[in-house]
Assembly symmetry: C2
Homo-oligomer: 277 residues x 2
Amino acid sequence: MELLQKNYCFGGEQRTYSLFSHALKSETKFSIYLPAQSIEQNCPAVFFLAGLTCNEETFAIKAHAQKMAATLGMILIMPDTSPRGEDVANEQAWDIGQGAGFYINAQKMPWKKHFHMESYLIDELYPQVVENFLIDKQKIGIMGHSMGGHGALTLAWKYPHLFNSISAFAPICAASECAWGEKVFSAYLGEDKLEWKKNDAVALIENKGALFPNILIDQGLNDQFYEQLQPEKLKDVCEKKGQFLTLRFHDHYDHGYYFIQSFIDDHLKFHMAQINE
Amino acid sequence: MELLQKNYCFGGEQRTYSLFSHALKSETKFSIYLPAQSIEQNCPAVFFLAGLTCNEETFAIKAHAQKMAATLGMILIMPDTSPRGEDVANEQAWDIGQGAGFYINAQKMPWKKHFHMESYLIDELYPQVVENFLIDKQKIGIMGHSMGGHGALTLAWKYPHLFNSISAFAPICAASECAWGEKVFSAYLGEDKLEWKKNDAVALIENKGALFPNILIDQGLNDQFYEQLQPEKLKDVCEKKGQFLTLRFHDHYDHGYYFIQSFIDDHLKFHMAQINE
């Protein structure tokens, strides 16, 4: 794990690291916000999974989360959204390939050579940050935006023992049933729809039932990608399965980080409350 | 004035406009944050002048100012840092030419054809925003970062009737006496050092004396460009001239926006207090 950059911020440090991932077969970066409290005591931590076209810098720069994280004494962990590099498969499109890892393990060539974001996050990044920083292992949350909201929901339902809280901004709720997900899943996973369902948040909740005390979702009603997101399907399956869901719709807000920054403090406070329950 | 983009943010709107500037002889952009209060009542406003390599988006994305501006009901106005375009003079360097307008009027070719940021800001952007948005003309402040801190200080001392409050992050305090300023002033203004002094904050305060009740300056002590900034010279001239100055040094903080975001709320509250005095 190599430190590439650090900047003092609200009495703590915003850092960027690179590491070699065996799952991704490539170097990858993540950024981390370490509040002052984390210098000497174990702190709660939240993973943030970003959306299409984003990388490990996006949330750090645009979400305006550090002030509240500093106040709460919460570590923020921000991985990249896919493997990267000249030898990593890609397409001339922003919704597949590099920048669009979808937080799953690809099974089809050329994608399966590098695109194993699920294994990277769960088997490599998670244990390495727990080992290298003062993180309270019993107080780890996961959140995400759009594709990263899909990632947060699916990883929380696949690995509920690893996460104590879950929230998302404008998540892709049913990736196997929207255009973005259909394009990527058929490329990364092939045509077996059973494999798609294993990587679809609504299908996972349908299958595994309620697992968390609450989920916080914020969704803008002026979201230009609304039809890809299908929060109604998430609402329906949570009602059906008895999974408590705090789904907030917001007039005027769109899909971007000006929306996220407007509600990020609520999410960090939500994670803090859930984690401490 | 053409609206290029708008995003709802903390109950208000973050917008980007383009307009044709006669001073710059080109199209230019600015961004503006309009808090909800500004829909129906005159609000105070603060200009933010950005630093080298930045543009009208930088502060809007990276400074994390909108939340406090929404709370205070304060409009934020963020111009670009120079004229732009294929026909605008430039050099293969980040500290001169496009992105490095220095908020002055160039007098030497090729720069004097387009590089009139001072006239653009004072004679065009300022009256146009006052006319087009609900701005209280008696409550307008100016602030900036680095090159933009130089811009804020020099424009405040050149046009004190237009501004009610002044602050800066890591400003270039004596542009005529640092490497950045010497390079640009000799190119834009020529070798007449009297012209340089007319565009140097410390020299302007030396010449015109105290003009504002207070100046707020934040300066990181881990600033990689510290030698270009010379806050000690600003301190000395303010003491000599009886100009009250709140100069805060901060251990560990560097020159970037992670520093700015850590103290931006203090600056907006400072402007609000000064403006309302």
